[in-house]
């Protein structure tokens, strides 16, 4: 017992060990990359890294799985404060404003490339993807890595039984109710369910209908923006969904992708979620064929359908390491954005390709023909050139804002509030969060 205690005391106080730990973390030969890709995605990340390492002998990338998006970001922030941060970190899109505002901490992607002398051609990228991560001057701040956009998955069997055309989903929300009712008539309890409701039913809803989600270009143009989701068009949509929840034309099933089983087991005939859900759906749907179509829009809405926006994550570079390390980062970015690597990552994961060449390559390889429905997301994303309202969203404290939106929507689905009350409350509560962020980041 005594020795146990003494051992621990010694270990804790031993300065050599401590310094050693410090050394290994800060001055390792590897470029450290913290990411949140688990499971098969994580294996693919490791594969990409090892391919890069093998392709040249000067630099070496070490990817480390740090948990989910939240844990990875929090961990990186804490590590930065303790000066033990990695070179690159994968941050989800809702963390963009936080990362952007930390001017002393981040090393913008375009700067990394410029300083390393590797050209970065903006027009090579799919604008709808990179627009989310560029500053007002069009400079790329972080490297898009895994981006997706929401689409509509539907149960072809259910459509057939209900007498609907199994080769396309409902195009508009107007005909959606009709579709759902016909499907319910032939025995399916629920019309559709959705995942990530703020992203799919409000953020993308706004972009797809060319409506502003928040002021000042959805926050792109200033820190003092506010939510605008209590507009008549937004209220109308949420009101409709709330009405549909009563008869289960719409059935809420959880904040993330918790609702997926409802689609897999045939309870709900339609499912709106990320294009990256394609693989899990293909794996889990056994008893019917499914189709993919674009998000519905309200007929007669001005500007609809515009283009959808992305979700997912990008790679941010953090300052505080040796200059030669950043040359390695630039070299890795160059590798990452090559057509072959991009096409491979896109085809394996269902995330979108970020360059035109990768898209072309996949088309040439016949990927979209062999896997029907995989091109829908790209077509939807690039449907029209993005307007100031459909480039993406950049709000501070966005994680908490999304939580507020989730809470208010849940109250609406549960019948405790009307749509207008819920959305107005969401706007009011988010106001506090947004002003807090503005205050903390305006010096």
């Amino acid at each position: 017992m005594f020795s146990e205690v003494l051992k621990m005391r010694k270990g804790f106080l031993n300065p050599i060990l401590f310094l050693l730990g410090l050394t290994i973390n800060c001055f390792g030969a590897d470029i450290v990359w913290w990411h949140a890709m688990g499971g098969t995605l994580g294996e693919k990340v490791n594969e990409i890294a090892s391919r890069f390492n093998k392709s040249q002998s000067e630099h070496s990338i070490k990817p480390i799985y740090k948990g989910n998006y939240t844990e990875t970001m929090t961990g990186a922030v804490a590590a930065f404060r303790a000066k033990k941060h990695p070179h690159m970190v994968q941050v989800f899109e809702v963390g963009t404003a936080t990362m952007m505002a930390a001017k002393g901490a981040i090393y913008p992607a375009y700067q990394v490339m410029k300083d390393a002398g590797i050209p970065l051609n903006p027009s090579a990228y799919l604008q709808a993807v990179t627009a989310y991560y560029t500053d007002a001057k069009g400079n790329l701040l972080s490297m898009p890595f895994n981006s997706s956009t929401p689409v509509l998955y539907y149960n072809k069997e259910a459509f057939r039984l209900a007498g609907l055309d199994p080769d396309r989903g409902p195009r508009t929300w107007n005909e959606f109710e009709d579709y759902a009712k016909k499907i319910q008539k032939v025995g399916y309890p629920c019309g559709f369910t959705t995942g990530w409701q703020s992203w799919t039913q409000l953020e993308n809803y706004s972009a797809w209908h060319d409506l502003a989600f928040a002021s000042l270009g959805n926050g792109f143009n200033g820190l003092n923006s506010s939510l605008l989701i209590n507009s008549p068009e937004h209220i109308k949509h949420v009101e409709t969904l709330a009405r549909w929840q009563k008869s289960r034309i719409f059935d809420y099933g959880g904040r993330r992708s918790d609702a997926a089983p409802k689609f897999y087991n045939g309870e709900c005939a339609m499912y709106i979620n990320s294009s990256a859900s394609y693989s899990p759906i293909r794996e889990n749907v056994r008893t019917f064929q499914f189709g993919v179509s674009m998000l519905p829009y309200w007929e007669g809405a001005k500007g609809a359908p515009q283009n959808s926006i992305i979700g997912g994550a990008s790679l941010w570079v953090l300052r505080g390491h040796k200059p030669e390390d950043y040359k390695a980062v630039a070299s890795f970015f160059s590798f990452l954005t090559s057509a072959e690597v991009q096409a491979d990552w896109h085809q394996f994961t269902g995330y979108l390709p970020i360059t035109h060449t990768a898209y072309e390559l996949s088309r040439e390889q016949g990927f979209y023909k062999k896997n029907p429905g995989t091109e829908t997301a790209i077509l939807q994303l690039t449907h029209k050139k993005p307007t100031v309202r459909s480039k993406g969203i950049r709000l501070g404290n966005f994680v908490q804002v999304r939580d507020v939106i989730n809470e208010e929507l849940e109250a609406v689905w549960g019948g405790q509030k009307s749509a207008s009350k819920g959305l107005n409350s969401a706007v009011k509560r988010s106001e506090i969060l947004l002003r807090k962020f503005e205050r903390a980041n305006s010096r």
Partner: protein
């Protein structure tokens, strides 16, 4: 403490003996607590690149923030329901176990299992039982006509976490109640019986009052448990939802600090929680100390 005549005098041995505890306490308890106190007076960005000293603004904000007050209310409801449910059930079981001679050991063995189960796992088990799609209890409730869905209905979610939290504490309460019951002199009960009191009456007039020290002790322990040790239950099941219906104070500290990266606000909440624990601890310590004096 032991009087001078019985104490050892040694130059530095006592310091050596207390050093590990004191060191770890200072490094991992006092220092972070001081940091939390300091941070609660700041508004800063997530990376710590810019800080603004704002005195009590964070506290003012909290005390007027409907979100925080709602969380406080949720915690009170959660703590009181869990405490009463758990203590009530375990008192009943303890009274029954006290009456029974045969099989007492077996009952005891089975009833102390939940003590060993982590709150987080207790949460997962009950979450599974109440799952709207496949849970057995959900199935029974739905068959009776109520559309159980704790993803949507805040009250359903609250019931779920209360059940898990109360279930977990049953063993602890049961053991203490049983010990308390068994320390009541039989002579008192016999005297009451001779006076013609029924078992029911005996319980309320003799047993329950004599049990009050135990009851009070358990009350404090259960409330502290509900306030703090139930983090795992909430995090593993409802994450404070839906619509904040199960967001207890301790979960909010974690959520705002770790996920929302609002360090000043989270620190201020921590400080307020420290005050609350302090009050509970003083209550408990005062009470326990009193007992020891006898």
């Amino acid at each position: 403490m032991v009087k001078d005549s019985a104490a050892f005098r040694h130059r530095f041995l006592p310091y050596l003996l207390v050093a590990p505890q004191v060191t770890i306490t200072l490094v991992f308890f006092i220092w972070p607590a001081a940091q939390a106190l300091y941070q609660s007076f700041l508004i800063e960005d997530a990376f710590g690149l810019s800080t603004e000293f704002v005195w009590f603004e964070n506290f003012q904000f909290l005390l007027s923030d409907p979100g925080y007050l709602h969380s406080f209310k949720v915690t009170m409801v959660f703590a009181s329901c869990t405490t009463f449910l758990s203590m009530g059930a375990s008192l009943l079981l303890a009274v029954m176990a006290d009456r029974v001679i045969r099989g007492a050991m077996i009952y005891k063995t089975f009833l102390i299992w939940p003590y060993a189960v982590a709150p987080a796992i207790a949460g997962v088990l009950w979450y599974f039982l109440f799952n709207p799609s496949i849970g057995i209890l959900a199935y029974v409730i739905q068959s009776a006509g109520y559309d159980w869905n704790h993803y949507l209905q805040g009250s359903d979610a609250m019931i779920l976490v209360i059940m898990a939290a109360a279930w977990k504490q049953i063993s602890y309460n049961f053991l203490f109640f049983l010990a308390g019951l068994q320390s009541i002199p039989r002579s008192l009960l016999e005297a009451a019986a001779i006076d013609g009191a029924s078992p029911f009456k005996r319980f309320w007039t003799v047993v329950f009052p004599l049990l009050s020290p135990t009851t009070f002790f358990l009350l404090v322990v259960n409330v502290v448990y509900a306030f703090f040790d139930t983090f795992g239950i909430i995090h593993a099941t409802t994450s404070g939802g839906p619509a904040g219906a199960t967001e207890i104070l301790v979960y909010k500290v974690f959520n705002d600090g770790f996920i929302g990266l609002d360090l000043g606000g989270s620190a201020a909440q921590s400080v307020l929680l420290m005050f609350m624990v302090g009050i509970f601890t003083i209550l408990q310590f005062r009470y326990v100390e009193k007992k020891v004096e006898y």
